[in-house]
């Protein structure tokens, strides 16, 4: 399984754009990059998944360069409710296996 590395923590202010970068140097051809969000005392929630270039949904954007060795989760105009732990994971395309979680990035949004 490809190992991921991401910052342990980040701080931001309301209204700012937050970019969290994750490195996954050993990503395999059939792997997708997936991000989850976890609030305290809750289960992780799927945010976004991509293979290459850019993916955007109503919550976030995911930027993946051509070599796919890293990815950046972009959260536009964060609010206090975006304070959470964000996990970057590399998953097999079929998704039919458990996820291996790294330490995640703890985002603290200040007023």
């Amino acid at each position: 399984l490809a190992k991921t590395t991401q910052p342990i923590s980040m701080d931001s202010y309301e209204g700012q754009e937050v970019n969290i970068t994750c490195s996954h140097n050993n990503i395999a051809t059939n792997d997708y990059i997936t991000w989850y969000q976890q609030f305290p005392s809750q289960g992780p929630r799927f945010i976004i998944q991509g293979y290459k270039t850019k993916v955007t949904n109503e919550v976030a954007s995911l930027f993946i360069p051509a070599d796919r060795k890293s990815s950046t989760l972009s959260l536009p105009r964060v609010s206090l409710s975006d304070t959470a732990v964000y996990y970057c994971l590399v998953v097999l395309h079929t998704g039919r296996r458990a996820l291996t979680f790294g330490s995640g990035t703890r985002l603290q949004v200040q007023p």
Binding site: P44, R45, F46, Q49, V91, R96, L99, T100, F101
Partner: protein
């Protein structure tokens, strides 16, 4: 998407006792997993719950301590046996492989069961 219900959501348990956590999914799923998340830590996979057969355990987890059942495609249980304070954690049920629909490969999590052992 899948709606995953876990029971209990929270419990305080006596040392030496056992507790069974239930996970109910609102649709049939191919795979079900159990995770543990200790306070302030990331998630650790305990085992994959296999329908009709013994669960597949990860290194460091054994069936005697964490017996798992999965009688059908929508339900699984995890028992934490002979509990000690070190077992105080959130236990999370996770599923993937929803039958039908475009979200078949997405992995979903329940809200977790928070156990405190005293």
């Amino acid at each position: 998407s899948a709606v995953i219900s876990q029971k209990p959501s929270r419990d305080i348990c006596q040392r030496g006792t056992s507790l069974t956590i239930q996970c109910q999914v609102d649709s049939q799923v191919t795979m079900m997993f159990w995770y543990r998340q200790q306070p302030g830590q990331s998630l650790t996979l305990i085992a994959t719950a296999n329908q009709g057969s013994e669960a597949t355990y990860e290194s460091g987890f054994v069936i005697d301590k964490f017996p798992i059942s999965r009688p059908n495609l929508t339900f699984s249980t995890l028992t934490v046996s002979n509990m000690s304070p070190e077992d105080s954690s959130i236990y999370l049920c996770s599923v993937t492989g929803l039958t039908g629909g475009e979200s078949g490969n997405t992995i979903y999590f329940g809200e977790g069961s928070w156990l405190t052992v005293v």
